[in-house]
Amino acid sequence: MIGDLSLLISLPTLGAGVLLFIPTGRRGLLFQSALAFAALTFFWSLGILWRFDSSQGGMQMIERLPWIPFYGIEYLVGVDGLSLFLVLLTAFLGPIVILASWNIGKRVKEYLFLMLLLESGMIGTFLALDLFLFYVFWEIMLVPMYFIIGVWGGPQRIYAALKFVLFTMSGSLLMLVAIIYLAARHFQATQVWSFDLLEIYRLSLPYPEQLWLFGAFALSFAIKVPLFPLHTWLPDAHVEAPTAGSVILAGILLKMGSYGFLRFAIPLFPEAALAAAPLFIALAVVGIVYGALVAMMQEDLKKLVAYSSVSHLGFVMLGLFALNLQGIQGSLYQMLSHGLSTGALFLLVGMIYDRRHTRMIADFGGLWRQLPLFSAFFLVVALSSIALPGLNGFVGEFLILLGAFKAAPLWAVWAATGVILGAIYMLWMVRRVIFGPLDRPENQQLEDMSAREIALLTPILALILFMGIYPQPILSRMKPSVEFMLQRIESKKSSPAFEPPSLLAGLGSGEAGKPGKVEIHRHGS
């Protein structure tokens, strides 16, 4: 008997399997089947939302199967308020990116196959509760994304794809060692091998050891977010990826980094996270301002949107490391709304690129006259990205700044300037692209959005409005889980052995707790 969550993970893979039996030439049928399975996945995810008990903070719908029993490795999945909406977002964007790929020219079958596999991988990453399983999903996702950028991407695609994989891998392999170390420590404490996250949460580790492990996890997640100064892979990957790839990268893959902090790095090593919080807040704010400044100077629309992601994800990280209810809730909300707005921006940039085969801002101007519908969509999405009140972006950024003012008021002031800078680069771009005289002859022939393009943007737009006007249903489902997590941190913090450490002190006394030797059982003696 397959459980609800496992079905959600396996539906896209099932679809990928079905695609294999469709002849390569039947382009229409391939798309329809892929779309059908993506849509089915989305409806199934709505069913999970329906059954989700919003009063509970813990894990729900847990499924557990032994996988490698000798080492305590299990297939263990579950959902809570932290992961629920990210899963929904993934399932929601699934059909949209397939619709958006309609004009992929070559190797349609392989493309759709990889897209569906990728969706399974992403959903699995959000649902996995076994550290080993999480790592498997986390790492395996790289492969389809690597192919999507590398085969269907722009002129520099090979460089961008390799850079993306190598950056991510260098972080994640160190995380693998940390995962093994953590499991070994758990074995030392309980004499049971387990990679079960909920079990390992209970483990309390000495502070210097926490710092090393937190470092390994945080590096892996920070690369994915990406946190300044580890963001350099992002513009390359975004610019070279095909439109749908960019949407997935921005919409979901980046969220895995911030989700990783929230699910793993912070609750597993709360003391280290508290000590490192000032550093991460500083980097987040630098990222916000830096991303916005660089975005302002871009001449390529896609690059501009890519750098705006660096800035927006800075907000997410700021909220996370405020480590209070408003901050984390805001950060989760911002993850969702960034996924929608930036996803929509990439879709719009892709549409205009398909028509004009250029993304240079200077090549446009006055599109309002020729493409009224496109321009209307563009304007609303841009405003949502700026966080105009009444649209989705505002709620998240407001909560994050609220949380940040409680935790680090000075940094929050700097972060708030990021909001203004965001308005500057976005509105300036909108002015140059949409308004002004329609003076280029190439632009005077363009056609407005097709029915397919309207169909794929309308749901996003509806959600943008809904999330801006009525955030309560989403926030209320997140709240118990966020509180639950904060309590977990709080309870560890208030344990008698703990006194608030400083980061430098911990690293300086690293000798004692350096994770060199786990004396579990030395052999051969």
């Binding site: 000798f70 395996i140 590398g150 170390y181 786990v518 030395r522």
Partner: protein, 479 residues
């Protein structure tokens, strides 16, 4: 005196098959030579079946010079499987290179027999003799493609280096015999139960010489210099066979001598091996990055994988031993598979071993492309494939034994290795204009070999529990 031949049965069967192949070669016409491959595969399969029947036995023979236990059987099966894959994938290659099939198959089988004896030897002298049996056969195999200039050079180089290593081995064995009065491993381990301060110093020297000799055979840095040239000059199928079987045989001896019988000496060799592991991984990967030929890249990467395996030797104990065996199995599958795909690109006289020849292969020959991608991803350590599971257990054994730093170096090295493994995938799927590659119809046996190894690579990645248990049980039978 009664002679118990049961523990030798698999080896005897392999030798008989080899002799049968040599004899039949004289009588078969040119067109019927294809039969020889079938006889070799059949003989190996029968030996494998015998091995399975003997599973669980713990028998000695010839005054304890041979000891057949699960550990020996695990390796017997591994060597035979590798020989079968090698024979299947070289059927076509032999025709195109005009390598004599009779001699080729017989030598593969004879070296396999030597390996089987190496894994079951319980005496340093028998170990030495079987090592030579294996090595001499492989020296000849290296130079078998006589029409190519590099072949002679490679064989000569391999032979000289091998002879050099043999010198170390023999001198080490002589010192050990001088110190303890015996070459039997059981008696050696009894000797080592004496307190450490009563061991003569030249006993330790003997073990280190033994260690160096083995390091030559597994191509651990700094004893790896022969590898790239020899692999390059050798027929591609033989290069794969060497990377897998010869390495596994040397590691089998390594595990039997150092991880079990001589475990009391652990404190002596841990540090040098620790350094050797780090050096081997790093050098292998760094040099592999700059290669332009896929075959040469695989040669350097085999050095890197020897380094990963050394992690398990350093970690030692039950976990280290089991991880070593499992990784050898995983490496055998993915490496033989990769070499088989290299074979599939051969066209007549040309080897087509450069990266550029792989351009567009993924779409021209989807099967070869997918299989090669699997092998490359597995070698780089991506999850749900054999290589990842193998690395996971290696790192785990290192962490448990207190060598977290080795796991970290191994992890960083995996990132390095991704650079060159992924480049093959880049060529296959993201570039255009390489060679066609063989179709299924023109070389079905090669395709069969690739299919078997690819399925094995996936199986060990998705459901590793049974194989892992098998390697653990096998290693534990050493105790």
């Amino acid at each position: 005196m009664e002679v118990n031949l049961t523990p030798l049965l698999p080896a005897i069967e392999v030798v008989l098959t080899a002799l049968a192949v040599l004899l039949l070669d004289l009588f078969l016409g040119e067109r019927a030579k294809g039969l020889l491959a079938w006889i070799s595969v059949l003989g190996s399969a029968i030996a494998m079946a015998t091995g399975l029947l003997l599973w669980g036995s713990h028998e000695g023979a010839f005054q304890g010079t041979v000891l057949l236990d699960n550990f020996g059987l695990f390796f017997t099966l591994l060597f035979l499987g590798s020989a079968i894959i090698t024979i299947l994938s070289s059927v076509h290659y032999l025709k195109e290179t005009r390598i004599l099939p009779g001699e080729y198959h017989a030598l593969i089988l004879l070296s396999t027999a030597g390996m089987i004896l190496m894994a079951t030897a319980n005496d340093l002298l028998l170990f030495f003799l079987s090592l030579e049996t294996m090595s001499i056969a492989v020296y000849i195999l290296t130079g078998m493609w006589r029409e190519r200039g590099q072949a002679g050079e490679a064989a000569m180089k391999y032979f000289l280096m091998g002879a050099f290593a043999t010198g170390f081995l023999l001198y080490g064995i002589a010192l050990i015999f001088g110190a303890t009065g015996s070459t039997n491993l059981s008696r050696l381990s009894a000797f080592l139960t004496q307190p450490a301060n009563s061991w003569p110093l030249f006993l330790i020297a003997g073990f280190f010489l033994l260690l160096i000799g083995l390091a030559f055979k597994v191509a651990a840095a700094p004893f790896h210099f022969w590898v790239p040239d020899v692999y390059e000059g050798a027929p591609t199928s033989v290069a794969g066979f060497m990377a897998v079987s010869v390495k596994a045989a040397a590691f089998a001896v390594w595990a039997r001598i150092f991880l079990s019988r001589l475990a009391p000496l652990e404190a002596q060799w841990t540090l040098p091996l620790w350094a050797m592991a780090i050096l081997t991984m790093t050098i292998g990967n760094l040099l592999a990055i700059s290669q332009t030929s896929v075959k040469r890249m695989l040669a350097y990467s085999s050095i890197a994988h020897a380094g990963y395996l050394l992690i398990a030797v350093v970690a030692a104990g039950e976990d280290g031993g089991a991880a070593l065996l499992f990784y050898l199995l995983a490496y055998a599958l993915m490496s033989l598979g990769a070499f088989a795909v290299v074979l599939a690109l051969k066209e007549g006289e040309r080897d087509n071993e450069d990266y550029s020849h792989y351009a567009g292969l993924g779409f021209k020959r989807p099967f070869l492309g997918i299989a090669m991608s699997l092998f490359m991803l597995s070698l780089a350590g991506f999850p749900l494939l054999a290589g990842f599971t193998g690395k996971f257990y290696l790192f785990r054994s290192a962490v448990v034994a207190g060598y977290t730093e080795l796991a970290i170096v191994g992890a960083l090295n995996s990132v390095l290795s991704a650079v060159y493994y992924l480049r093959v995938i880049v060529m296959m799927y993201m570039e255009e204009g390489g060679v066609e590659g063989k179709s299924f119809a023109s070389s079905p046996y090669l395709y069969a070999a690739i299919a078997i190894t690819a399925l094995g690579t996936i199986y060990l990645g998705v459901a590793p529990a049974p194989a892992l248990e098998l390697s653990r049980i096998s290693f534990l039978s050493l105790r």
